[in-house]
Protein backbone atom coordinates (compact mmCIF):
# COMPACT_ATOMS: atom_id res chain seq x y z
CA UNK A 1 0.00 0.00 0.00
CA UNK A 2 1.27 3.44 -0.89
CA UNK A 3 0.00 6.43 1.06
CA UNK A 4 0.78 10.02 0.21
CA UNK A 5 0.12 12.25 3.20
CA UNK A 6 -0.09 16.05 2.87
CA UNK A 7 2.56 15.88 0.18
CA UNK A 8 3.85 19.20 -1.16
CA UNK A 9 6.71 20.04 -3.47
CA UNK A 10 7.99 23.53 -4.07
CA UNK A 11 10.64 24.32 -6.65
CA UNK A 12 12.78 27.37 -6.26
CA UNK A 13 13.51 28.86 -9.66
CA UNK A 14 15.02 32.09 -10.92
CA UNK A 15 11.52 33.62 -10.99
CA UNK A 16 10.73 32.60 -7.43
CA UNK A 17 8.88 29.71 -5.86
CA UNK A 18 6.72 27.34 -7.84
CA UNK A 19 4.30 25.06 -6.04
CA UNK A 20 4.42 21.92 -8.14
CA UNK A 21 2.36 19.86 -5.69
CA UNK A 22 0.04 21.12 -2.97
CA UNK A 23 -1.12 19.00 -0.08
CA UNK A 24 -1.65 15.74 -1.94
CA UNK A 25 -3.42 12.92 -0.10
CA UNK A 26 -3.78 9.63 -1.93
CA UNK A 27 -3.94 5.96 -1.03
CA UNK A 28 -3.02 3.27 -3.53
CA UNK A 29 -4.04 -0.21 -2.41
CA UNK A 30 -2.05 -3.30 -3.31
CA UNK A 31 -3.17 -4.67 -6.65
CA UNK A 32 -4.61 -1.36 -7.87
CA UNK A 33 -3.98 0.06 -11.28
CA UNK A 34 -4.12 3.63 -10.15
CA UNK A 35 -4.36 6.42 -12.71
CA UNK A 36 -3.07 9.91 -12.05
CA UNK A 37 -4.28 12.14 -14.83
CA UNK A 38 -3.88 15.80 -15.59
CA UNK A 39 -2.98 18.28 -18.28
CA UNK A 40 0.71 18.91 -18.89
CA UNK A 41 2.12 21.04 -16.11
CA UNK A 42 -0.35 19.71 -13.55
CA UNK A 43 2.48 18.11 -11.55
CA UNK A 44 1.97 14.47 -12.51
CA UNK A 45 5.61 13.70 -13.21
CA UNK A 46 6.75 15.42 -10.03
CA UNK A 47 4.17 13.43 -8.08
CA UNK A 48 5.32 10.07 -9.42
CA UNK A 49 8.97 11.00 -8.78
CA UNK A 50 8.13 11.81 -5.17
CA UNK A 51 6.97 8.23 -4.71
CA UNK A 52 10.47 6.80 -5.30
CA UNK A 53 12.22 9.93 -4.00
CA UNK A 54 13.75 10.92 -7.33
CA UNK A 55 12.22 14.21 -6.17
CA UNK A 56 12.34 14.95 -2.46
CA UNK A 57 8.97 16.23 -1.22
CA UNK A 58 9.17 19.63 0.46
CA UNK A 59 6.52 18.60 2.97
CA UNK A 60 4.47 15.57 3.84
CA UNK A 61 5.32 11.93 3.61
CA UNK A 62 5.27 8.95 1.30
CA UNK A 63 4.47 5.76 3.15
CA UNK A 64 5.10 2.44 1.45
CA UNK A 65 3.63 -0.39 3.50
CA UNK A 66 3.69 2.03 6.41
CA UNK A 67 7.36 2.97 6.04
CA UNK A 68 8.33 6.57 5.39
CA UNK A 69 10.45 6.79 2.22
CA UNK A 70 11.89 10.21 3.08
CA UNK A 71 13.48 9.05 6.33
CA UNK A 72 15.27 6.07 4.78
CA UNK A 73 19.04 5.92 4.45
CA UNK A 74 20.50 6.03 0.93
CA UNK A 75 21.10 2.31 1.14
CA UNK A 76 17.55 1.48 2.23
CA UNK A 77 16.22 3.81 -0.44
CA UNK A 78 18.19 2.03 -3.16
CA UNK A 79 16.71 -1.23 -1.90
CA UNK A 80 13.20 0.24 -2.08
CA UNK A 81 13.80 1.49 -5.62
CA UNK A 82 14.35 -2.11 -6.69
CA UNK A 83 10.85 -2.83 -5.39
CA UNK A 84 9.26 0.29 -6.90
CA UNK A 85 10.46 0.34 -10.49
CA UNK A 86 9.62 2.74 -13.26
CA UNK A 87 9.01 2.96 -17.00
CA UNK A 88 9.11 6.19 -18.95
CA UNK A 89 7.67 8.02 -21.94
CA UNK A 90 11.05 7.95 -23.70
CA UNK A 91 11.75 4.29 -22.78
CA UNK A 92 15.24 5.35 -21.58
CA UNK A 93 17.05 2.21 -22.66
CA UNK A 94 20.82 2.24 -22.76
CA UNK A 95 21.53 2.59 -26.46
CA UNK A 96 24.99 0.99 -26.35
CA UNK A 97 23.76 -2.21 -24.72
CA UNK A 98 21.84 -5.08 -26.22
CA UNK A 99 18.28 -5.66 -25.03
CA UNK A 100 19.43 -8.60 -22.93
CA UNK A 101 22.10 -6.51 -21.24
CA UNK A 102 19.58 -3.70 -20.69
CA UNK A 103 17.29 -6.09 -18.84
CA UNK A 104 20.27 -7.50 -16.95
CA UNK A 105 21.36 -4.05 -15.74
CA UNK A 106 19.18 -3.71 -12.62
CA UNK A 107 20.11 -7.25 -11.61
CA UNK A 108 23.81 -6.60 -12.07
CA UNK A 109 23.44 -3.34 -10.12
CA UNK A 110 21.99 -5.26 -7.20
CA UNK A 111 24.86 -7.72 -7.24
CA UNK A 112 23.32 -10.70 -9.05
CA UNK A 113 25.96 -12.73 -10.90
CA UNK A 114 26.14 -12.58 -14.69
CA UNK A 115 24.89 -16.07 -15.41
CA UNK A 116 21.80 -15.81 -13.18
CA UNK A 117 21.05 -12.33 -14.50
CA UNK A 118 21.30 -13.55 -18.09
CA UNK A 119 18.85 -16.39 -17.51
CA UNK A 120 16.40 -14.11 -15.71
CA UNK A 121 16.65 -11.44 -18.42
CA UNK A 122 16.00 -13.96 -21.17
CA UNK A 123 12.95 -15.20 -19.26
CA UNK A 124 11.63 -11.64 -18.93
CA UNK A 125 12.16 -10.87 -22.62
CA UNK A 126 10.04 -13.93 -23.34
CA UNK A 127 7.39 -12.68 -20.90
CA UNK A 128 7.10 -9.34 -22.75
CA UNK A 129 6.97 -11.09 -26.10
CA UNK A 130 10.47 -10.40 -27.40
CA UNK A 131 12.37 -13.67 -26.88
CA UNK A 132 14.28 -13.23 -30.15
CA UNK A 133 15.50 -9.67 -29.53
CA UNK A 134 18.03 -10.50 -26.82
CA UNK A 135 21.01 -9.58 -28.96
CA UNK A 136 19.43 -6.63 -30.78
CA UNK A 137 20.26 -3.08 -29.86
CA UNK A 138 17.43 -0.70 -28.87
CA UNK A 139 17.98 1.37 -32.03
CA UNK A 140 16.95 -1.65 -34.07
CA UNK A 141 13.56 -1.88 -32.34
CA UNK A 142 10.29 0.01 -32.78
CA UNK A 143 8.97 2.26 -30.01
CA UNK A 144 6.53 -0.38 -28.80
CA UNK A 145 9.26 -3.01 -28.69
CA UNK A 146 11.58 -0.65 -26.81
CA UNK A 147 8.87 -0.07 -24.21
CA UNK A 148 8.48 -3.84 -23.86
CA UNK A 149 12.20 -4.15 -23.17
CA UNK A 150 11.89 -1.31 -20.65
CA UNK A 151 9.02 -3.18 -18.97
CA UNK A 152 11.12 -6.37 -18.84
CA UNK A 153 13.91 -4.31 -17.28
CA UNK A 154 11.50 -2.83 -14.73
CA UNK A 155 10.35 -6.33 -13.76
CA UNK A 156 13.87 -7.72 -13.36
CA UNK A 157 14.16 -7.00 -9.65
CA UNK A 158 10.68 -8.47 -8.97
CA UNK A 159 9.10 -5.22 -7.85
CA UNK A 160 5.88 -4.77 -5.89
CA UNK A 161 5.01 -1.52 -7.62
CA UNK A 162 5.44 -0.36 -11.23
CA UNK A 163 5.36 3.37 -11.90
CA UNK A 164 4.44 4.29 -15.49
CA UNK A 165 5.34 7.87 -16.37
CA UNK A 166 3.44 8.65 -19.59
CA UNK A 167 4.57 5.21 -20.73
CA UNK A 168 2.35 5.15 -23.81
CA UNK A 169 2.39 8.82 -24.77
CA UNK A 170 5.02 8.35 -27.46
CA UNK A 171 3.21 5.40 -29.03
CA UNK A 172 0.49 5.11 -31.68
CA UNK A 173 -3.00 4.01 -30.54
CA UNK A 174 -2.60 0.39 -31.57
CA UNK A 175 0.76 0.00 -29.84
CA UNK A 176 -0.60 1.89 -26.82
CA UNK A 177 -3.38 -0.66 -26.57
CA UNK A 178 -0.92 -3.57 -26.74
CA UNK A 179 1.36 -2.07 -24.09
CA UNK A 180 -1.60 -1.34 -21.79
CA UNK A 181 -2.73 -4.93 -22.18
CA UNK A 182 0.75 -6.08 -21.19
CA UNK A 183 0.68 -3.83 -18.14
CA UNK A 184 -2.73 -5.19 -17.13
CA UNK A 185 -1.42 -8.74 -17.59
CA UNK A 186 1.53 -7.97 -15.34
CA UNK A 187 -0.81 -6.49 -12.74
CA UNK A 188 -3.01 -9.58 -12.78
CA UNK A 189 -0.45 -12.36 -13.14
CA UNK A 190 2.45 -10.98 -11.12
CA UNK A 191 0.22 -9.10 -8.64
CA UNK A 192 2.17 -5.89 -9.14
CA UNK A 193 0.53 -2.64 -8.13
CA UNK A 194 0.65 -0.16 -11.02
CA UNK A 195 0.56 3.61 -10.90
CA UNK A 196 -0.13 5.16 -14.29
CA UNK A 197 0.66 8.79 -15.01
CA UNK A 198 -1.02 10.04 -18.14
CA UNK A 199 -2.74 12.95 -19.83
CA UNK A 200 -4.96 10.62 -21.85
CA UNK A 201 -8.37 9.75 -20.41
CA UNK A 202 -8.48 6.74 -22.74
CA UNK A 203 -5.50 5.19 -20.92
CA UNK A 204 -7.18 5.55 -17.52
CA UNK A 205 -10.41 4.21 -18.92
CA UNK A 206 -8.72 1.22 -20.46
CA UNK A 207 -6.77 -0.14 -17.52
CA UNK A 208 -7.24 1.78 -14.27
CA UNK A 209 -9.62 0.90 -11.46
CA UNK A 210 -9.04 4.11 -9.53
CA UNK A 211 -8.11 7.57 -10.71
CA UNK A 212 -7.00 10.89 -9.26
CA UNK A 213 -7.33 14.06 -11.27
CA UNK A 214 -4.52 16.51 -10.79
CA UNK A 215 -4.82 20.19 -11.60
CA UNK A 216 -2.26 22.87 -10.75
CA UNK A 217 -0.59 20.56 -8.27
CA UNK A 218 -3.76 19.61 -6.43
CA UNK A 219 -5.95 16.53 -6.47
CA UNK A 220 -9.34 17.91 -7.51
CA UNK A 221 -11.12 14.59 -7.69
CA UNK A 222 -10.42 11.01 -6.76
CA UNK A 223 -12.34 7.76 -6.86
CA UNK A 224 -13.32 4.65 -8.77
CA UNK A 225 -12.88 5.18 -12.51
CA UNK A 226 -16.50 4.22 -13.25
CA UNK A 227 -17.82 6.76 -10.72
CA UNK A 228 -15.55 9.57 -11.76
CA UNK A 229 -16.41 8.96 -15.39
CA UNK A 230 -20.13 8.84 -14.94
CA UNK A 231 -20.40 11.75 -12.58
CA UNK A 232 -17.44 14.07 -12.88
CA UNK A 233 -17.62 16.86 -10.33
CA UNK A 234 -14.52 18.97 -10.89
CA UNK A 235 -14.13 21.22 -13.91
CA UNK A 236 -10.75 19.74 -14.70
CA UNK A 237 -12.28 16.27 -14.79
CA UNK A 238 -15.05 17.34 -17.12
CA UNK A 239 -12.54 19.03 -19.38
CA UNK A 240 -10.57 15.79 -19.56
CA UNK A 241 -13.61 13.58 -20.09
CA UNK A 242 -15.55 15.93 -22.34
CA UNK A 243 -12.89 17.97 -24.05
CA UNK A 244 -15.37 19.01 -26.74
CA UNK A 245 -18.19 20.16 -24.49
CA UNK A 246 -17.06 23.76 -24.31
CA UNK A 247 -17.67 24.27 -28.02
CA UNK A 248 -21.38 23.48 -27.84
CA UNK A 249 -22.62 26.89 -26.81
CA UNK A 250 -22.97 27.99 -30.42
CA UNK A 251 -25.62 25.39 -31.18
CA UNK A 252 -27.69 26.16 -28.10
CA UNK A 253 -31.24 26.54 -29.41
CA UNK A 254 -33.02 29.78 -28.58
CA UNK A 255 -35.83 29.47 -26.09
CA UNK A 256 -34.77 25.99 -25.06
CA UNK A 257 -32.77 24.61 -22.18
CA UNK A 258 -29.94 22.19 -21.98
CA UNK A 259 -29.66 19.09 -19.89
CA UNK A 260 -26.81 16.65 -19.55
CA UNK A 261 -27.85 13.02 -19.51
CA UNK A 262 -25.19 10.91 -17.86
CA UNK A 263 -24.93 7.22 -18.49
CA UNK A 264 -23.45 5.34 -15.60
CA UNK A 265 -23.40 1.85 -16.99
CA UNK A 266 -26.89 2.00 -18.48
CA UNK A 267 -27.67 -0.91 -20.77
CA UNK A 268 -27.32 0.81 -24.11
CA UNK A 269 -29.19 -1.68 -26.25
CA UNK A 270 -32.28 -1.85 -24.07
CA UNK A 271 -34.45 0.72 -25.72
CA UNK A 272 -34.25 3.88 -27.82
CA UNK A 273 -34.43 6.37 -24.97
CA UNK A 274 -34.98 9.61 -26.88
CA UNK A 275 -37.42 8.12 -29.36
CA UNK A 276 -39.45 6.72 -26.48
CA UNK A 277 -39.42 10.09 -24.73
CA UNK A 278 -40.73 11.72 -27.90
CA UNK A 279 -43.58 9.20 -28.11
CA UNK A 280 -44.39 9.08 -24.38
CA UNK A 281 -44.03 12.77 -23.51
CA UNK A 282 -44.12 14.52 -26.84
CA UNK A 283 -40.78 16.19 -26.15
CA UNK A 284 -38.58 16.45 -29.22
CA UNK A 285 -35.11 16.66 -27.75
CA UNK A 286 -32.20 17.51 -29.99
CA UNK A 287 -28.74 16.06 -29.38
CA UNK A 288 -26.28 18.93 -29.04
CA UNK A 289 -23.31 16.81 -28.20
CA UNK A 290 -22.44 13.39 -26.94
CA UNK A 291 -19.49 11.42 -25.77
CA UNK A 292 -20.27 7.90 -24.78
CA UNK A 293 -18.15 4.83 -24.53
CA UNK A 294 -19.35 1.31 -24.24
CA UNK A 295 -17.83 -1.14 -21.84
CA UNK A 296 -19.35 -4.47 -22.68
CA UNK A 297 -22.99 -3.65 -23.46
CA UNK A 298 -23.07 -0.84 -20.92
CA UNK A 299 -22.79 2.81 -21.82
CA UNK A 300 -20.70 5.33 -19.95
CA UNK A 301 -20.52 9.02 -20.76
CA UNK A 302 -22.92 11.79 -21.46
CA UNK A 303 -25.34 13.25 -23.96
CA UNK A 304 -26.07 16.95 -24.08
CA UNK A 305 -29.72 17.55 -24.98
CA UNK A 306 -31.53 20.68 -26.02
CA UNK A 307 -35.11 20.62 -24.70
CA UNK A 308 -37.46 22.99 -26.48
CA UNK A 309 -40.57 24.46 -24.85
CA UNK A 310 -41.61 25.52 -21.40
CA UNK A 311 -39.97 24.84 -18.01
CA UNK A 312 -42.75 22.27 -17.45
CA UNK A 313 -41.57 20.32 -20.49
CA UNK A 314 -38.07 20.52 -19.09
CA UNK A 315 -39.15 19.11 -15.72
CA UNK A 316 -41.09 16.37 -17.47
CA UNK A 317 -38.06 15.41 -19.55
CA UNK A 318 -35.83 15.34 -16.50
CA UNK A 319 -38.14 13.11 -14.50
CA UNK A 320 -38.71 10.84 -17.50
CA UNK A 321 -35.01 10.37 -18.21
CA UNK A 322 -34.10 10.04 -14.53
CA UNK A 323 -36.48 7.14 -14.23
CA UNK A 324 -34.25 5.05 -16.48
CA UNK A 325 -31.84 2.84 -14.52
CA UNK A 326 -28.21 4.02 -14.37
CA UNK A 327 -29.02 7.36 -15.94
CA UNK A 328 -28.73 10.67 -14.14
CA UNK A 329 -29.73 14.07 -15.43
CA UNK A 330 -28.25 17.45 -14.68
CA UNK A 331 -29.46 20.83 -15.79
CA UNK A 332 -26.69 22.30 -17.85
CA UNK A 333 -27.20 25.85 -16.56
CA UNK A 334 -25.67 24.77 -13.27
CA UNK A 335 -22.50 23.83 -15.04
CA UNK A 336 -22.36 27.18 -16.74
CA UNK A 337 -22.71 28.92 -13.38
CA UNK A 338 -19.96 26.78 -11.88
CA UNK A 339 -17.63 27.49 -14.74
CA UNK A 340 -18.07 31.23 -14.26
CA UNK A 341 -17.23 30.86 -10.58
CA UNK A 342 -14.07 28.96 -11.34
Amino acid sequence: MIELRNLSKTFTTMDGQVDALRNINLTVENGDIYGIIGMSGAGKSTLVRCINMLERPTQGSVLVNGRDMASMSQRELRGMRRKITMIFQGFNLLMQRTCLRNVMLPLRLSGVDRRTAEAKAQELLTLVGLPDKANSYPAQLSGGQQQRVAIARALATEPDVLLCDEATSALDPKTTHAILELIRDINEKLRITVIVITHQMSVVQEICNRVAILENGEVVEEGMVSEVFSNPRANATRNLIYPESTGNDSVFPKGGQRIRVIFNGAIASREPLLAKMAVDCGILASILGASTRSVGDRAYGYMLLGIPGTPEDMAKAISYLSATPDVTVQVEAEYAAKEVEA
Binding site: R81, R82, F88, G90
Partner: protein
Amino acid sequence: MNFANAFTPEKLQEAWNCLLNEFPFAMWETLYSTILATFFAILIGLPLGVILVTGEAKGIHPLPRPVMSFLNVFINLLRSVPFIILMVMIIPLTRVIVGTSVGTVASIVPLTVAAFPFIARLVESSLREINPNIIETAQSMGATSLQIVFRVMLPESVPSLVTNFTLAITTIMGYTAMSGAVGGGGLGKLALAYGYQRYRYAVLYLAVIVLVIITQVIQSFGTWLAAKLDKRLKNK
Protein backbone atom coordinates in the same frame (compact mmCIF):
# COMPACT_ATOMS: atom_id res chain seq x y z
CA MET B 1 71.27 30.12 -49.06
CA ASN B 2 67.81 30.59 -50.37
CA PHE B 3 64.64 28.68 -50.87
CA ALA B 4 65.02 28.22 -54.65
CA ASN B 5 67.92 25.77 -54.52
CA ALA B 6 66.54 23.78 -51.59
CA PHE B 7 65.38 21.04 -53.91
CA THR B 8 68.44 20.39 -56.10
CA PRO B 9 69.22 16.73 -56.83
CA GLU B 10 71.93 16.58 -54.18
CA LYS B 11 69.66 18.15 -51.55
CA LEU B 12 66.99 15.61 -52.40
CA GLN B 13 69.58 12.84 -52.18
CA GLU B 14 70.57 14.13 -48.76
CA ALA B 15 66.95 14.23 -47.69
CA TRP B 16 66.45 10.68 -48.96
CA ASN B 17 69.42 9.47 -46.91
CA CYS B 18 68.04 11.27 -43.90
CA LEU B 19 64.67 9.63 -44.51
CA LEU B 20 66.31 6.19 -44.50
CA ASN B 21 68.64 6.81 -41.57
CA GLU B 22 66.91 9.12 -39.17
CA PHE B 23 63.17 9.06 -39.91
CA PRO B 24 62.38 5.62 -38.51
CA PHE B 25 63.78 6.53 -35.09
CA ALA B 26 62.22 10.02 -35.15
CA MET B 27 58.85 8.50 -36.03
CA TRP B 28 59.20 6.02 -33.19
CA GLU B 29 60.04 8.84 -30.78
CA THR B 30 57.06 10.88 -31.95
CA LEU B 31 54.69 7.94 -31.63
CA TYR B 32 55.78 6.74 -28.25
CA SER B 33 55.88 10.17 -26.65
CA THR B 34 52.43 10.87 -28.15
CA ILE B 35 50.97 7.58 -27.00
CA LEU B 36 52.47 7.67 -23.52
CA ALA B 37 51.52 11.32 -22.99
CA THR B 38 47.97 10.58 -24.18
CA PHE B 39 47.80 7.58 -21.87
CA PHE B 40 48.89 9.55 -18.80
CA ALA B 41 46.69 12.50 -19.76
CA ILE B 42 43.66 10.21 -19.98
CA LEU B 43 44.63 8.62 -16.68
CA ILE B 44 44.42 12.03 -15.00
CA GLY B 45 41.91 13.78 -17.27
CA LEU B 46 39.21 11.11 -17.40
CA PRO B 47 38.46 11.08 -13.65
CA LEU B 48 38.60 14.88 -13.60
CA GLY B 49 36.14 15.07 -16.50
CA VAL B 50 33.83 12.67 -14.67
CA ILE B 51 34.04 14.82 -11.53
CA LEU B 52 33.31 17.98 -13.54
CA VAL B 53 29.97 16.45 -14.55
CA THR B 54 28.99 14.41 -11.50
CA GLY B 55 30.21 16.91 -8.91
CA GLU B 56 28.29 19.96 -10.06
CA ALA B 57 25.27 21.15 -8.07
CA LYS B 58 22.78 19.27 -10.28
CA GLY B 59 25.07 16.28 -10.82
CA ILE B 60 24.57 12.79 -9.46
CA HIS B 61 27.08 13.33 -6.65
CA PRO B 62 27.37 17.05 -5.85
CA LEU B 63 30.68 18.13 -4.34
CA PRO B 64 31.23 21.26 -2.23
CA ARG B 65 31.08 24.37 -4.38
CA PRO B 66 34.64 25.55 -3.52
CA VAL B 67 36.06 22.20 -4.70
CA MET B 68 34.30 22.53 -8.04
CA SER B 69 35.33 26.17 -8.42
CA PHE B 70 38.95 25.31 -7.70
CA LEU B 71 38.88 22.44 -10.19
CA ASN B 72 37.41 24.62 -12.92
CA VAL B 73 39.86 27.47 -12.36
CA PHE B 74 42.80 25.06 -12.19
CA ILE B 75 41.85 23.42 -15.48
CA ASN B 76 41.23 26.75 -17.18
CA LEU B 77 44.58 28.08 -15.95
CA LEU B 78 46.52 25.14 -17.36
CA ARG B 79 44.54 25.31 -20.58
CA SER B 80 45.39 28.97 -21.09
CA VAL B 81 49.19 28.68 -20.82
CA PRO B 82 50.72 28.25 -24.31
CA PHE B 83 52.39 24.84 -24.55
CA ILE B 84 55.86 26.09 -25.39
CA ILE B 85 55.84 28.32 -22.30
CA LEU B 86 54.30 25.63 -20.08
CA MET B 87 57.12 23.32 -21.08
CA VAL B 88 59.73 25.75 -19.76
CA MET B 89 57.65 26.62 -16.67
CA ILE B 90 57.41 23.06 -15.42
CA ILE B 91 61.06 22.11 -15.96
CA PRO B 92 61.55 21.69 -12.17
CA LEU B 93 58.62 19.27 -12.05
CA THR B 94 60.01 17.37 -15.03
CA ARG B 95 63.37 17.07 -13.25
CA VAL B 96 61.69 15.69 -10.14
CA ILE B 97 59.73 13.07 -12.09
CA VAL B 98 62.18 11.99 -14.81
CA GLY B 99 65.50 13.17 -13.39
CA THR B 100 66.27 15.35 -16.40
CA SER B 101 64.47 17.97 -18.41
CA VAL B 102 66.05 17.07 -21.75
CA GLY B 103 65.10 14.28 -24.11
CA THR B 104 62.07 12.49 -25.41
CA VAL B 105 61.18 10.79 -22.13
CA ALA B 106 61.39 14.12 -20.31
CA SER B 107 59.08 15.72 -22.87
CA ILE B 108 56.30 13.32 -21.84
CA VAL B 109 55.86 15.25 -18.58
CA PRO B 110 55.00 18.65 -20.09
CA LEU B 111 52.96 16.89 -22.79
CA THR B 112 50.88 15.17 -20.11
CA VAL B 113 50.48 18.35 -18.07
CA ALA B 114 49.34 20.24 -21.15
CA ALA B 115 46.99 17.51 -22.33
CA PHE B 116 45.16 16.33 -19.20
CA PRO B 117 43.11 19.53 -18.68
CA PHE B 118 42.18 19.36 -22.36
CA ILE B 119 41.14 15.72 -21.95
CA ALA B 120 39.16 16.59 -18.81
CA ARG B 121 37.15 19.13 -20.83
CA LEU B 122 36.65 16.65 -23.69
CA VAL B 123 35.43 13.97 -21.28
CA GLU B 124 33.14 16.54 -19.67
CA SER B 125 31.57 17.38 -23.02
CA SER B 126 31.18 13.70 -23.94
CA LEU B 127 29.41 12.94 -20.67
CA ARG B 128 27.13 15.95 -21.04
CA GLU B 129 25.82 14.48 -24.30
CA ILE B 130 24.18 11.64 -22.38
CA ASN B 131 20.42 11.89 -22.17
CA PRO B 132 19.75 12.96 -18.55
CA ASN B 133 16.69 10.68 -18.52
CA ILE B 134 19.03 7.68 -18.75
CA ILE B 135 20.80 8.81 -15.59
CA GLU B 136 17.46 9.28 -13.85
CA THR B 137 16.45 5.80 -14.99
CA ALA B 138 19.58 4.34 -13.43
CA GLN B 139 18.80 6.18 -10.20
CA SER B 140 15.27 4.79 -10.29
CA MET B 141 16.82 1.30 -10.40
CA GLY B 142 18.70 1.97 -7.18
CA ALA B 143 22.14 2.48 -8.74
CA THR B 144 24.89 4.10 -6.66
CA SER B 145 26.80 7.09 -8.03
CA LEU B 146 29.82 4.92 -8.85
CA GLN B 147 27.60 2.36 -10.62
CA ILE B 148 26.04 5.16 -12.66
CA VAL B 149 29.51 6.36 -13.73
CA PHE B 150 30.93 2.96 -14.60
CA ARG B 151 27.87 1.08 -15.83
CA VAL B 152 25.88 3.85 -17.46
CA MET B 153 27.70 7.12 -18.15
CA LEU B 154 31.04 5.83 -19.44
CA PRO B 155 29.68 2.88 -21.47
CA GLU B 156 26.97 5.06 -23.02
CA SER B 157 29.48 7.70 -24.12
CA VAL B 158 32.12 5.34 -25.56
CA PRO B 159 31.65 6.45 -29.20
CA SER B 160 31.86 10.11 -28.22
CA LEU B 161 34.89 9.45 -25.99
CA VAL B 162 36.67 7.65 -28.85
CA THR B 163 36.01 10.61 -31.15
CA ASN B 164 37.30 13.05 -28.55
CA PHE B 165 40.36 10.96 -27.67
CA THR B 166 41.21 10.85 -31.37
CA LEU B 167 41.08 14.62 -31.41
CA ALA B 168 43.29 14.66 -28.30
CA ILE B 169 45.90 12.29 -29.69
CA THR B 170 46.33 14.30 -32.91
CA THR B 171 46.59 17.51 -30.90
CA ILE B 172 49.18 15.97 -28.56
CA MET B 173 51.17 14.83 -31.61
CA GLY B 174 51.22 18.47 -32.71
CA TYR B 175 52.60 19.35 -29.28
CA THR B 176 55.40 16.77 -29.57
CA ALA B 177 56.70 18.67 -32.59
CA MET B 178 56.88 21.78 -30.45
CA SER B 179 58.69 19.91 -27.71
CA GLY B 180 61.49 19.46 -30.26
CA ALA B 181 62.37 23.10 -29.59
CA VAL B 182 63.16 22.36 -25.94
CA GLY B 183 65.01 19.09 -26.07
CA GLY B 184 62.27 16.65 -26.98
CA GLY B 185 62.84 14.17 -29.79
CA GLY B 186 60.85 13.05 -32.79
CA LEU B 187 59.83 14.31 -36.18
CA GLY B 188 59.36 17.84 -34.88
CA LYS B 189 62.92 18.00 -33.68
CA LEU B 190 64.12 16.55 -36.99
CA ALA B 191 62.19 19.17 -38.96
CA LEU B 192 63.48 22.00 -36.78
CA ALA B 193 67.08 20.80 -36.61
CA TYR B 194 67.43 20.16 -40.34
CA GLY B 195 64.96 22.61 -41.78
CA TYR B 196 65.18 25.63 -39.50
CA GLN B 197 68.72 25.46 -38.17
CA ARG B 198 70.47 23.93 -41.20
CA TYR B 199 68.24 25.12 -44.02
CA ARG B 200 67.52 21.58 -45.23
CA TYR B 201 64.02 22.42 -46.45
CA ALA B 202 63.54 19.09 -48.20
CA VAL B 203 63.95 17.30 -44.87
CA LEU B 204 61.58 19.76 -43.22
CA TYR B 205 58.90 19.16 -45.84
CA LEU B 206 59.41 15.44 -45.68
CA ALA B 207 58.98 15.48 -41.91
CA VAL B 208 55.80 17.53 -42.27
CA ILE B 209 54.45 15.14 -44.89
CA VAL B 210 55.11 12.17 -42.62
CA LEU B 211 53.37 13.99 -39.71
CA VAL B 212 50.38 14.73 -41.94
CA ILE B 213 50.16 11.08 -42.98
CA ILE B 214 50.34 9.82 -39.38
CA THR B 215 47.66 12.32 -38.33
CA GLN B 216 45.43 11.20 -41.20
CA VAL B 217 45.84 7.55 -40.30
CA ILE B 218 45.05 8.14 -36.60
CA GLN B 219 42.07 10.34 -37.41
CA SER B 220 40.62 7.90 -39.93
CA PHE B 221 41.08 5.00 -37.55
CA GLY B 222 39.45 6.94 -34.71
CA THR B 223 36.48 7.95 -36.83
CA TRP B 224 36.05 4.38 -38.06
CA LEU B 225 36.31 2.95 -34.56
CA ALA B 226 33.81 5.42 -33.09
CA ALA B 227 31.29 4.59 -35.82
CA LYS B 228 31.85 0.87 -35.36
CA LEU B 229 31.34 1.07 -31.61
CA ASP B 230 28.20 3.22 -31.82
CA LYS B 231 25.10 1.02 -31.63
CA ARG B 232 22.61 3.83 -32.07
CA LEU B 233 22.29 4.15 -35.84
CA LYS B 234 23.32 0.80 -37.19
CA ASN B 235 21.47 -2.02 -38.96
CA LYS B 236 18.25 -0.11 -38.65
